[in-house]
């Protein structure tokens, strides 16, 4: 809980990892390339005091994560979103199996999520069923740019993807987190395009599925906003956007004012993407943040304390049925 000046804010971190990118777990040059790319995001957007050495960044201990999120970082509940990358890391980068012991040890602190990959056919479907039975998951994270053998990605509109989404609807896995990356099949198309989210959001609206687009479709913010404005079951995860608040505050303000106008404060979810960034400094700055007057005037939106409360916790609490203390 964030507490200051007599007021409390309930914090849900909508996107965290407990990854292992250590050299021992790297399968090839892509595993090294992946974590170095993350590290540049981390170094570029974090305040100096929050920059880690690469070795720690590759693999961090449980105690560090608990401290950064829950002791220093104000977080009440953190949502695990796995990123498997089994073609890059021997045991995967951050799988549900890696996250599960943390959930078991700290059941009140974490929400565990699974994942699926439309290319895994009937076997993957069985694994999804097992994960639901075993871990009682209510959400999945889908990384459509994941490499698998010679394939460089997949789409939510692929026939098998629909079978998985049918299964999610059937089993009550209602929160579908979508993460786009630089590759997809076919490679001549824009891999970051979120048009497939548009299609399935319409098709699965009545089935109760919600689509949370991670880093709000960046670098295709405009395509994302045009979809979200039409599809009430599409949400913006604010990973990657939030840390702009320190290093690029003007861009942060511009992106936030666009999101507030197009998507609205009820469908934006705070996320640190830990360990990409640590939540403490982001939350400190966000609570104090005011939209500049010129942007308020141009866009006609404002970011109020009520809006910040929704973004920092209440919106995610509603998606995952997390009880919110009366004090918040």
């Amino acid at each position: 809980m964030y507490t200051k000046g007599g007021q409390s804010i309930f914090i849900v971190d909508g996107h965290v990892h407990f990854w292992d990118a250590s050299p021992q777990n790297q399968l090839n040059k892509y595993g090294d390339g992946w974590i170095r790319c993350f590290y540049d995001y981390h170094r570029n957007l974090s305040p100096k005091d929050y920059v880690w050495p690469l070795e720690l960044y590759q693999k961090y201990p449980e105690e560090r994560m608990m401290r950064d999120l829950f002791q220093e970082g104000y977080v009440d509940k953190a949502i695990f979103l796995p990123t498997n990358l089994k073609d890059f890391y021997k045991n995967g980068f951050n799988t549900i199996e890696q996250d599960a012991p943390m959930k078991e040890k700290y059941p009140d602190k974490f929400i565990l999520n699974g994942s699926f990959d439309a290319r895994e056919g009937p076997e993957g479907l069985k694994k999804l069923e097992e994960d639901v039975r075993r871990y009682k998951i209510k959400g999945v994270k889908l990384y459509t740019a994941e490499w698998k053998g010679s394939s460089k990605g997949w789409k939510l509109t692929d026939p098998w993807a629909r079978r998985y989404l049918d299964k999610c609807a059937e089993l009550g896995v209602v929160n579908i987190h979508v993460h786009k990356g630089p590759t997809i099949w076919p490679l001549n198309k824009d891999a970051f395009d979120v048009a497939d989210v548009d299609d399935v959001a319409t098709d699965y609206r009545d089935a109760g599925l919600k689509f949370i687009v991670e880093h709000c479709g960046l670098p295709r913010l405009e395509d994302f906003c045009w979809i979200a404005v039409q599809e009430p079951n599409v949400y913006a995860g604010l990973a990657v956007v939030m840390p702009f608040i320190h290093a690029r505050p003007r861009y942060f303000a511009e992106v936030m004012s666009e999101l507030l106008w197009w998507v609205g404060e009820d469908r934006l979810l705070f996320a640190s993407d830990y360990a990409l960034w640590s939540p403490k400094w982001i939350i400190d700055k966000f609570v104090e943040f005011q939209l500049p007057d010129d942007l308020k005037e141009q866009t006609g939106v404002n970011l109020t304390m009520e809006g910040k409360r929704k973004i920092l916790g209440l919106n995610a609490a509603a998606l995952y049925n997390i009880p919110v203390p009366v004090a918040a």
Partner: protein
């Protein structure tokens, strides 16, 4: 002095015509300055993507570096291929070698581009066609972003009925006119200034202005991120000719 016959494999020089002198590094860089990052609509030189230019005789070698190891292979290809074409268009050049470095598809892109292959040949199993559609999509985005930048310079000017001849000269107006010409749109003095990418007059101006602003915010925040990542990745290693 008239050079003797060109070396085998080089460009044929017309009989009796004097061969152009090999370009200087500065001339190569000036040519590369016109090559754009298709996503960001900015020069690859300005973005700091050009790491090295070497002119040996009539052969030019250029190294390209990108903000991340994972920059999308299709856009990376377009930049490398456009860079090679720009160099080969220079007088006095026989060979161009564009080398993409520190990238997950460095091998495929470098080999494919320098052998003069198409993207669909280089990535045969992973594509359904070429990159023309992708390029067009992003030139359209660039058109709207340039339009927004221009309109923002006009302050309280009434945009209804605005003609190209009403635009005061500015770098933003020049950039907008250039992309209008590139897209084959009407560039005459009487042409309407605020149009869609097909040159049609905008009907709902308020919605249009919302949309183009969003596109600009998207492209500019993306540019800021790319610049930051490149800085981080190559801290202490200066690009050639880059600027902020």
């Amino acid at each position: 002095m008239i050079e003797p016959d060109p070396s085998p494999g080089g460009r044929t020089i017309g009989s009796g015509a004097p061969a152009a002198a090999a370009p200087t590094e500065a001339q190569v860089l000036a040519a590369l300055g016109k090559v754009l990052d298709p996503e960001l609509d900015r020069s690859i030189v300005d973005l700091g993507f050009v790491r090295g230019v070497t002119v040996s005789g009539r052969d030019v070698r250029v190294e390209l570096r990108l903000p991340t190891y994972w920059c999308a292979p299709n856009f990376s290809w377009l930049m490398a291929a456009d860079a090679r074409d720009a160099i080969l268009d220079l007088p006095g050049v026989d060979g161009a070698n564009v080398v993409l470095v520190d990238h997950h598809a460095a091998g495929e892109v470098t080999a494919g581009v320098n052998e003069g292959h198409t993207f669909e040949k280089a990535f045969a199993d992973e594509v359904t066609g070429g990159l023309d559609q992708l390029r067009r999509t992003f030139r359209r985005k660039a058109f709207f972003v340039r339009q927004d930048r221009l309109l923002r310079t006009l302050g309280g000017h009434d945009l209804n009925g605005l003609r190209l001849s009403d635009l005061p000269p500015s770098p933003e107006a020049e950039a907008y006119l250039a992309i209008r010409a590139e897209l084959g749109l009407d560039c005459s003095a009487d042409a309407p200034a605020v149009t869609d990418a097909e040159g049609r007059i905008v009907q709902d101006l308020q919605t249009h202005l919302r949309c183009v602003r969003l596109m600009r915010v998207s492209m500019e925040s993306n540019t800021a991120l790319c610049r930051g990542l490149l800085d981080e990745r190559y801290r202490g290693q200066e690009a050639i000719g880059g600027s902020r």
